[in-house]
Symmetry: C2
Subunit: 481 residues, 2 copies
C-alpha cells in the first residue's frame, strides 16, 4: 500500500491523515481490510505503536471497524469528499452588514498606517515609547495574573476598574459618574460599535463633525446610519447649523476637536445639550485625548454639563497608555445602561479580566497619573519643537491651526490645492518625511492642501531635524511652481 | 459668597465645581465680577493659588472673561442647565437590536452563574484552578509586555499567534489551515457575533442543535436570525431531519455535542457537508472542548473533512486556558476572509497585543500543551470519580448520557418530570449541592428532569463527598414521592 506522509506533526498523525486520504481516494476500498499493523510498520519503517495509534484514531473517528487482533476494516459507506478547492476570490457579500462594510471600509485611510522607508514619520496614533511604562505595566500584569479570578469577568467590567475610572473622571474630567454608569470596553471603536447597535437602525440619521475621525464614521455607516456632517470652526461644531429635524445621534469631540483642534465653546456646549434635549437626539462625546492640554488644566467634559442624561461619554486608554492595550470605557445614561451591558455581553461576554485588574490597580495606586504627567511633559516639549520648526520654515506659506491639546497639529499649505498637497507629500517622502493628508477625515474634503502631523512618535531632536528637511522640501516644492 | 465644597479630589477642582454651580444657580449673575482672589481665599480659608487655579480653569472653559489683576467677569450668556434627573427606569429600546436583546437575553440562564452558599457547585464553565498555569501565565505576560509592540495590533491577529494556532490545529485537531485563514477573536461569543454580522440579515434562517449552547442562540437571535432546532441523538445532529430548504447557517458541535455529549458520526459528518454544499448553507463548527477526550485521541474536526469550504471553525482558549482570558479564533473560508477581518476591525480594531503575544509564545514553546496534558489528566480523574459516584447512588434511578469528552456530564432522573427536576435541585441545595438544570439549553425543553453537572471546579475528594450528599438527597427525594 502506498502512503505519502506529509511530514507535519507527529508520525501517528501523519499516518492517520495518509490513511484517510487513501480511503477517500478509493485506494483502499470500503469493507477492505487494512494491512496488519506489524506489516505496515515494517513497510513504512515506523514503530508498530505508531501504526496502532493511527488505527485507533481511525476507529475513534469511524473510518474503520473491528478490534486490534482481528483486523481493521474500512467502514462502509465512506463517501469521498470532493477535492478541496479553496476559493480565494471573495464571495458575494452574505449580509447587508458585510455589503456595507465592503463599500465603506477603506483601510488605506485609517490613521496609524506606517509609511515604509521614511526617516521621520509624522504618524498619528502611534504611542509615545516609554520604557518606564513598559516595565511598570509588565509588573502590573504579572501581579494581576496572580490574583485575578480566572472566571468569566463581569460583562460591565471589573468593579475595581469602574471605580478607578469614576475617580479619575471626577478629578480630571469634571464628570460625576458612579461605577454603575460605566461600561468597560475594548477601546473607542468598540464603544462606537456598541452605541450603533444600541441606538441605531439602518437608515437612522447621525451627525458627525466635518472633519471627523474616519474610523468612527465607518463604524456608524456599516451599521446602516445615514451620516451627514456639520462644519467645525474655531469654536468647534457649528451648533446653529444642526438640522431642523433632530438626528438620532450627534458625535462630537468637544475637548479637542478631531482633527481640527478646536475647543467647543461653553455657549455652544449648552446650546448643543439644549438641542439634544428638545429634539430627542443622543450625543456621543468622544473624549479621546482630553487629558493632554498644554495651556491650562484639561477642560471639563461635555458630560459634566449634561442635565438631560443625553450624553454617552467615551474615554480610551489607547492614547493615555498605548493602543495595543485595547481598553476604554463608556459612561452611559441610566435608562440605556441595561442595553449597553447586554450588547457588550452579546459581543464578547466582557473584556479580559487580568488586563482590567492590572489597569485598575495602576490607576488606583497613582502610577497612571504619574505616567500621564511624564507623557504630558514630553508631549509639550515635542509640540513646542514642532510649532517652532513650522514657524521657522513657514515664512507665511503655512497656516497652523490653533490647538492647545493632543498629540497632533493640523497645518495648511497656503494657496495650494489638494492635488498640490498630494504632490508635496510625495516630494516630502524623497526628503525622508512621512506626511499624512487631512483629506481622509472629511466626508467632502476641501480643495486645500492640509496635513495632519502627529508628533508622538518623534523625539525633539528628530522633530528638529525633520523640520529642517520640511523647510528644504517646502522651498524646493514652492520654487518649482 | 456662599460656596459649598464637595470634598472630592483636589481643592482647586472642588472650588471650580462650586463656582460653576453658583453661576448656574444664578447666585452669581452674568456679567458680575467674581470676588478678588485674595478675598475669596481668605473667606474660604484656602491658599490664593487654589483660587487662582480655579479662576484659570473657569476662564479656559469659557465661564469667565478677563485677566488676572483686572478682575474676572462671568461670561454672558451662560444658560443654566436644568437639574440632572438621572432616569433610572429603562427607556424604550432605541433600536431593533436593543429590542431583540431585551426579549432574548436571559442572564439567569447563562452557564457559569454561581449559586451562593452551596458547598459543592457543579457549575459548568468554571476553570480548573491551576497554580502552575497562573505562574506560567504571569511570566508570559510580563515577558510579552516587554517586547510586544504598543501599536495597534493587526485586526486579524498577531501573525505569531495565528501560526501557533495553525500548528496546534494540524497536530491536535486534524485541521490544515494557513495563518491567513485564521482570525483571532475575543472568545467564542465574539466569533459567533462576527459570524452573525458577516452572514446574516434579520429574518435569515439558522439551524441549531437541540439541545444547544444558549448563549450562541441568543447571539444569533439578537442579530435577527430565525432559529429552528434539529434534534440530537447519540450520533449527534440528525442530519436527515434538516429542512428541505437549506438554512443560511447550521451551528454544530461535532466533536462533543453541547450539552448532550454525543459525537457526530463520520457518515453524518459527510452527509452534513454534502447538504451544506447542495443547499448553499454555511456551517459553524464550535469545537469548544475538542481537546479533552478521554477514550482516544481527540477526533479530527469537521473542518478537516470540508471539501467545499463551507465550514467556519471556532476554537476557544476559555476551556483550555481560562475564561477571563477572552481569546479564541476562527478559521474562515477564503472567500469570506476579508469580511471577517473587516468585521473584527469594525468591532474593536483587533484583540489585545500583549495577550496575543504571550499566548503565541506559550503555545510555540510547548507550555500550552504541557498544561493541556496536566488538565486532561486531572479532568479524567474527576470525571471518573463523578461517574463512579453517580453509579454508586443510581440504583437504576439515574441515566447518565454517554460522553467521552469534555468537562461536564448530563444526567437524567428516571421517571421524573421537569417540575420534579426543579424540586430536586431545590432540595439538593439544602444538602449543600449546587446543581444546574439542562432545560436552558433547549428551545423546547423536554418534560424530563435533566441535570448538567460540570466537574471542573471540584477536586476528586470534593466530588466523592458531593456524591454521598447527592445519594442521600436522591433517596430522601424519591422516598417522599
Amino acid at each position: 500500500m502506498h502512503l505519502q506522509l506529509d511530514g507535519r506533526g507527529p508520525l501517528h498523525a501523519q499516518l492517520t491523515r495518509a490513511l484517510k486520504t487513501a480511503v477517500f481516494a478509493g485506494r483502499v476500498s470500503q469493507g477492505a481490510r487494512l494491512p496488519a499493523t506489524r506489516q505496515l510498520a515494517r513497510e513504512l519503517g515506523v514503530s508498530r505503536n505508531t501504526v496502532l495509534a493511527a488505527y485507533e484514531q481511525l476507529r475513534a473517528e469511524g473510518f474503520v471497524d473491528g478490534r486490534v487482533g482481528s483486523g481493521s476494516y474500512v467502514t462502509p459507506p465512506v463517501q469521498a469528499p470532493r477535492p478541496l478547492h479553496a476559493v480565494e476570490a471573495p464571495l458575494p457579500a452574505q449580509s447587508q452588514f458585510a455589503r456595507r462594510a465592503r463599500v465603506v471600509h477603506d483601510h488605506l485611510r485609517i490613521p496609524g498606517r506606517g509609511i515604509p522607508g521614511v526617516r521621520w514619520a509624522f504618524q498619528y496614533g502611534v504611542p509615545l515609547t516609554n520604557p518606564a511604562l513598559t516595565s511598570a505595566w509588565a509588573r502590573e500584569l504579572a501581579h494581576a495574573a496572580a490574583y485575578t479570578s480566572p472566571n468569566y469577568p463581569a460583562s460591565q467590567g471589573l468593579p475595581a476598574l469602574r471605580e478607578a475610572v469614576c475617580d479619575y473622571l471626577a478629578r480630571r474630567r469634571g464628570v460625576q459618574a458612579e461605577p454603575q454608569d460605566v461600561v468597560i470596553v475594548d477601546g473607542t471603536q468598540q464603544a462606537v460599535a456598541l452605541t450603533a447597535r444600541v441606538l441605531l437602525d439602518p437608515g437612522d440619521e447621525v451627525v458627525l463633525e466635518e472633519p471627523h475621525y474616519n474610523a468612527m464614521r465607518e463604524a456608524l455607516q456599516i451599521h446602516g446610519a445615514q451620516v451627514r456632517t456639520v462644519d467645525v470652526d474655531r469654536h468647534g461644531l457649528q451648533v446653529d447649523a444642526l438640522p431642523a429635524r433632530g438626528p438620532k445621534l450627534i458625535c462630537v469631540t468637544p475637548s479637542h476637536q478631531f482633527p481640527s483642534g478646536a475647543v467647543l465653546s461653553l455657549s455652544r456646549r449648552l446650546q448643543l445639550l439644549e438641542y439634544a434635549r428638545q429634539h430627542g437626539s443622543w450625543i456621543l462625546e468622544d473624549d479621546y485625548d482630553g487629558e493632554f492640554r498644554y495651556d491650562a488644566r484639561p477642560l471639563a467634559a461635555l458630560r459634566s454639563l449634561d442635565d438631560g442624561d443625553r450624553v454617552i461619554y467615551v474615554g480610551t486608554f489607547s492614547k493615555a497608555m498605548f493602543p495595543s492595550l485595547r481598553l476604554g470605557y463608556l459612561v452611559v445614561p441610566a435608562g440605556l445602561r441595561g442595553d449597553f451591558v447586554n450588547a457588550k455581553w452579546q459581543d464578547d461576554f466582557g473584556s479580559c479580566g487580568i488586563q482590567q485588574a492590572a489597569l485598575a490597580r495602576f490607576i488606583a495606586e497613582g502610577g497612571f497619573e504619574r505616567h500621564l504627567r511624564r507623557t504630558w511633559k514630553t508631549l509639550k516639549e515635542r509640540r513646542a519643537a514642532l510649532l517652532e520648526g513650522l514657524q521657522r520654515c513657514s515664512r507665511g506659506r503655512l497656516q497652523v491651526e490653533d490647538s492647545q491639546a493632543g498629540m497632533h497639529l493640523v497645518v495648511w499649505l497656503q494657496d495650494c490645492d489638494a492635488a498640490q498637497g498630494e504632490a508635496f507629500i510625495a516630494r516630502a517622502r524623497s526628503h525622508g518625511l512621512g506626511l499624512y493628508p487631512i483629506s481622509p477625515y472629511y466626508l467632502s474634503p476641501p480643495d486645500r492642501a492640509g496635513l495632519l502631523l502627529g508628533y508622538c512618535g518623534l523625539s525633539v531632536a528628530q522633530i528638529n531635524d525633520a523640520m529642517t528637511a520640511f523647510g528644504a522640501c517646502l522651498d524646493e516644492f514652492l520654487d518649482e511652481r
